[in-house]
């Protein structure tokens, strides 16, 4: 039973206040994109053993979507940040690097 801190309202709450939304920072591919790109957008998930940048919604709370950097093996939360961004903020990257030197996740490190 995780605890997460919503970066939008500041509440630290238990998992049941939140709803997981899968991998974060997916780039949307629409009409005109290749089959490959569209397939990867919808289905190719990184599914790492380790750092995972992912989406959450504070659905039993402020209702906002946000992102979390979470470890899928230890369940450590390295940081949470608002969803209106295309990559994690430096502070979160630094927090991950401090714990997991050499980590990478998609194009981020």
């Amino acid at each position: 039973m995780l605890i997460l801190t919503c970066p939008c309202c500041g509440v630290t709450g238990e998992e049941t206040e939140f709803h997981g939304g899968g991998e974060a920072h997916l780039k949307r591919f629409g009409p005109g994109s290749t089959d490959e790109a569209f397939h990867d957008y919808l289905f190719s998930k990184v599914n790492p053993k380790g750092v995972h940048l992912e989406r959450w919604r504070h659905n039993n709370g402020c209702g906002k979507w946000f992102h979390a950097a979470r470890d899928t093996v230890t369940l450590e939360i390295y940081g949470t940040y608002p969803a209106q961004t295309t990559e994690p903020p430096q502070s979160v990257k630094d927090a991950i690097t401090a714990k997991r030197p050499g980590w990478s996740w998609r194009e981020f490190a």
Binding site: M1, L2, I3, E14, G21, R28, F29, G30, P31, G32, S33, D35, F38, L42, R55, R57, N59, G63, K64, W65, D71, T74, L75, E76, I77, A83, Q84, K99
Partner: protein
């Protein structure tokens, strides 16, 4: 025989006698007794039968680790199987019965299995019953299953109440023995918020039984003072009868409080499940004594040495007159000494060790006149339902009997294992401690929490500290360091000085005697409840079941209700020996919650009966209830399926509603439909992305039917969109879609198009909505309003604000039935008033409230699709002939790209058509149209399926819609639909609009 002593029993209130029954026999104990102590006080040693061989079983322990003493307790709605006698407090009127025997505990036919034991060795069933094949299903398995289980299944509904509680603290200390108390004190001194929970009704654990002094005072005085001190602290909560059931991720712990078990007549919940979120957790869970493996160690009267001592000191119960103590460590001497001091006979202590000099406890035992035989053990125990004696042998040999000693109790001790369960639940690692021959927490590999921090600290015996002084000093440190990790420091509690009694090192004795032959190993029990013996583990190893998990599962070791609390370490030591590898290399099986079983009802908490799940109610719900509604669940709502009148069948009722609506006037509570308001400069652009059709061109005052797909291209929802003003739209969704489509919109707005100026609000519950449907709809509404709602003023697919029966309302001229129809939305708090007003106004027009089934039939008669019927998550709008609702002008909408994939554009996709049965009957729901031949897997080829099918009361025949291969091009063709009874129904492909094809009825 076992009996109550004249004196003693520190937990008893001898002034309060308590009556109870066991197997119908009326017995008496005292307040403070457990069922176990009271049974033993009444010479009831035999308490049950083992699982596999139906061996007689007596109480072996005094706490949570007890594998044998399980009874059925209570009667009727209060009955509960498998109650552990050692942890159940006695109360007046308690009734209990022993389990797993027939016809009686004393004479059990199943005990024949013990004669067959040599054939029922580990894994025998994997090798048996293979031939002939039908015999397994019809003969063998039914017999095996009949013999399964321990207690009886309850057969009545539980009438007790249960609840949850959410608690938050800095430091949770699990275990209220001296380690837990001291750790709590040490943590609390820092100002940290501390919660201390203890599974029994008493504080101090077993320290008061073991004795010794702390700070110069007897340990029980120390405990009393400490409890008083902690109770007075504002930042400390103490909770007894509350077991730490499990430790979960991020500092979540479960506390299982047995509020009412000991006082069943009291008001309040029976159990309370605490969901505790702690920054840090201290596991002060103590240690459990291990049995020794010798032949006949399962005969009633063979008990843990510490338990024998507990029964004397805590409950004033003597297990027997003559107790032989057998041990590999000093602690068991305390039992011998206690017995002797209480005037009971200890004919001998058989100590497997050969020490070079006497430890203080050995010396004390000898000084009391107890005969101590060093280097000796038990060759075998004599007796059937009760110990009658032991054969003494040399530990080093093969078990030749040197002497026989008559006795009625054997008190055994194989050393102590720290209780590491709660440490391990969430990933804490263990290390093997060679000196105590036990696994203890590897404090460098603790479970880690949300920030990666270690969040569990073991304390006292649970951390491998066994002497009083070591326990207190370890607990002091543990409490302070947990508090510090939780952000509180200072405090400075120093560990109190405890009397130090030097003990001689224990010896690792896993088999007694060391060279025991197969006959003895086949009688040396490891798991008492599941009947697993030393020979079984050895057989598993011999057959290659070498992993500890394989051996466990092959033999069922540790899989009984005690989850191997007594047997696991002994079993894996035997396994390691058989494999010729050190114990740590074998490792342990996984510790899983709960620590001891917890009631299912406590997990359920309040969520039972009417609170099982929310039932969402519209403002008119009570009217529906009062007027015979037959409900159907739709999401969390309950909607009237139909309003049955006395004497009507469901079908007749539905038919009446349809006919009345088509003939004159019907009305429907449509309040559950989703109503999402979308506003902002970019609202039109946003809806163009969400819907397949163009919404931005809709004029204020008008409505448009729209389709929504997911990014995968498949239909997810539909509904009518009304444009309120330039910047504002009201989107109707399906009942099930209200929350999900609202979430869908927010998701896209927040995570993809966050720079668009759009806000969305879910106003579903703000409005009650009533559909007024039928030829008399307008005339009836006109009775209630002065506003112009004529066809010109309020045409089809428009909306208008009006006053109706004095209530502000918005009327949408939309139709899902093909009739002249208005959907009237009013504030929810006025919904019932409007409903009543409409009923009154419509009386002359025979206004007929109708339910969801009539709604469905009427829409099917008109060929309107229904989400969830015509769609199933794999259907695209193009399949349903809804090309007109897909904008060709838009570059993009959610799902557009997906609809360009090869399978989605495949012309062979099945398409929507109407189906008219040749004989006028009703096609079965879900029927498939067959095609010629079979596929590569031998399955019949198909060419279509029924998506909706009804008897149409209007047309008085069966109508259906379906998806059919090339369907729209095959009008008039007849397809075959096999029914489940094997007969075939034939149906003609027709246009899906069965009724009023030109829409004359709705456009008046």
């Amino acid at each position: 025989m076992s009996t109550r002593l004249a004196n003693g029993g520190r937990l008893l209130d001898r002034g309060r006698k308590v009556d109870f029954t066991f197997n119908g026999k009326r017995l008496r104990g005292y307040a403070g007794d457990t069922i176990a102590s009271a049974l033993l006080a009444n010479d009831q040693m035999l308490v049950g039968r083992s699982f596999k061989y139906h061996r007689p079983r007596g109480v072996v322990a005094s706490g949570a680790e007890e594998p044998n003493g399980l009874v059925g307790m209570g009667t009727g709605a209060d009955f509960e199987p498998n109650q552990r006698v050692t942890t159940t407090e006695l109360f007046d009127g308690l009734t209990c019965t022993s389990q797993n025997h027939w016809p009686s505990l004393d004479f059990d036919v199943g005990a024949i299995n013990t004669k067959l034991a040599r054939f029922l060795f580990a894994g025998f069933y994997y090798k048996m019953f293979i031939h002939p094949r039908p015999f397994w299903k019809h003969v063998y398995e039914p017999i095996i299953r009949k013999s399964a289980g321990l207690g009886k299944a309850p057969d009545q509904r539980d009438t007790d109440t249960y609840e949850h509680f959410y608690a938050f603290c800095d430091v949770l200390v699990i275990g209220g023995g001296i380690a837990g108390l001291q750790a709590a004190r040490s943590a609390a001194a820092t100002g940290a918020k501390v919660m201390l929970i203890e599974q029994t009704a008493h504080w101090g654990g077993r320290a008061p039984v073991d004795g010794g002094t702390v700070g110069g005072q007897p340990v029980d005085k120390f405990v009393d003072d400490l409890v008083a001190e902690l109770s007075a602290m504002d930042n400390v909560t103490m909770r007894n009868r509350t077991m730490g059931a499990g430790v979960y991720d991020h500092g979540y712990a479960l506390g299982y409080e047995r509020v009412g078990d000991h006082q069943p007549a009291a008001k309040g919940p029976r159990h309370r499940l605490w969901r505790i979120r702690a920054a840090q957790i201290v596991t002060a869970t103590g240690a459990i004594e291990r049995p020794l493996s010798f032949a006949g160690n399962d005969i009633p009267g063979v008990m843990l040495a510490s338990a024998v001592r507990d029964y004397v000191v805590d409950y004033g119960v003597s297990i027997g007159d003559r107790t032989v103590v057998v041990t590999n460590n000093d602690d068991a001497y305390r039992t011998a000494i206690t017995l002797k001091k209480n005037g009971l006979d200890v004919p001998a202590i058989l100590d497997a060790r050969v020490p070079t000099q006497d430890s203080p406890l050995m010396a004390e035992a000898k000084s009391l006149g107890i005969r101590v035989l060093m280097g000796h053990g038990i060759s075998s125990v004599q007796g059937v339902k009760r110990v009658t004696g032991v054969g003494v042998c040399s530990q080093a040999g093969e078990g030749a009997v040197l002497e026989e000693i008559a006795c009625d109790v054997v008190a055994m001790s194989g050393g102590w294992s720290p209780v590491v369960h709660l440490w391990s639940h969430c990933g804490g690692k263990l290390i093997w401690d060679e000196t105590t021959a036990a696994f203890r927490p590897d404090v460098d590999k603790a479970p880690t929490g949300a920030k990666g921090e270690a969040f569990v600290t073991p304390a006292g015996a649970a951390n491998g500290a066994l002497s009083l002084g070591d326990v207190l000093s370890d607990a002091t440190t543990a409490g302070a360091s947990a508090a510090k990790a939780a952000g509180h420091s200072g405090g400075d509690v120093t560990a109190p000085e405890a009397e130090q009694i030097d003990e001689a090192p224990m010896a690792q004795v896993w088999m007694m005697p060391h060279g025991a032959g197969i006959k003895k190993r086949q009688k040396a029990w490891l798991d008492y409840q599941n009947d697993v013996k030393v020979s079984d583990i050895q057989l598993a190893a011999q057959e290659g079941y070498e992993s500890v998990e394989h051996a466990k599962r092959y033999t069922t070791l540790g899989m009984a209700t005690d989850q191997g609390k007594l047997s696991n370490i002994n079993g894996l030591a035997i396994l390691s020996d058989a494999l010729g590898q050190p114990i740590p290399q074998t490792g342990t099986t996984t510790f899983r919650p709960p620590y001891t079983p917890i009631s299912m009802a406590s997990i359920t908490g309040e969520a039972r009966d009417e609170r099982f799940m929310p039932i969402r109610q519209t403002p008119m719900y009570q009217w529906h209830v009062d007027n015979g509604a037959f409900f159907e669940p739709v999401g969390q709502w309950r909607r009237p399926y139909t309003y049955q009148k006395p004497g009507e069948s469901i079908e007749q009722s539905v038919s009446r509603e349809v006919k009345a609506t088509r003939a004159s006037l019907g009305m429907l509570d449509a309040s559950t439909l989703g109503k999402l308001v979308v506003t902002g400069k970019d609202a039109g652009k946003f809806l163009d992305m969400l819907y397949t059709n163009m919404m931005s061109t809709l004029k204020p005052g008008h409505c448009r039917y729209g389709l929504m797909c997911g990014e995968n291209g498949f239909l997810i929802d539909d509904g009518v969109v009304a444009r309120i003003d330039d910047n504002t739209f009201l989107c109707h969704t399906t009942t099930g879609g209200a929350e999900s489509i609202h979430g869908h919109m927010e998701e896209w707005l927040q995570t993809e198009w966050w720079d668009w100026e759009v806000y969305v609000a879910n106003l579903t519950e703000q409005y009650a909505q009533i559909a007024v449907v039928g030829p008399q709809a307008r005339a009836t509404l006109e009775k209630l309003t002065g506003d112009d709602i004529s066809g010109d003023a309020l045409p089809f697919m428009a909306w208008k604000d009006i006053t109706l029966a004095g209530i502000q309302a918005r009327a949408y001229r939309i139709s899902f039935s093909g009739e002249l129809s208005y959907e009237i939305a009013v504030k929810a708090s006025e919904g019932r008033a409007l409903w009543d007003a409409l009923l009154a106004a419509g009386q002359t027009a025979n206004i007929t409230p109708y339910g969801t089934e009539a709604l469905h039939i009427m829409r099917a008669e008109k060929g309107f699709i229904m989400m969830g019927d015509e769609t199933d998550g794999t259907v695209i709008p193009q399949d349903l002939g809804l090309h007109w609702a897909i904008s060709k002008k838009k570059e993009d909408y959610i799902g557009k790209r997906a609809q360009a994939r090869s399978h989605v554009t495949d012309p062979r996709r099945w398409q929507l058509v109407g189906l008219e049965t040749v004989d006028g009957g009703v096609l079965p729901d879900g029927a498939y149209a067959t095609a010629e031949g079979k596929n590569a897997n031998g399955q019949r080829e198909t060419q279509g399926r029924v998506t909706s099918t009804y008897h149409s009361p209007t047309l008085e025949r069966g109508i259906a819609m379906g998806l059919v291969l090339n369907g729209p091009d095959r009008m008039g063709e007849v397809l075959e639909f096999p029914r489940l009874d094997g007969t075939i129904m034939r149906a003609k492909i027709v246009d899906p609009v069965f009724f009023d094809k030109d829409g004359e009825k709705q456009n008046v």
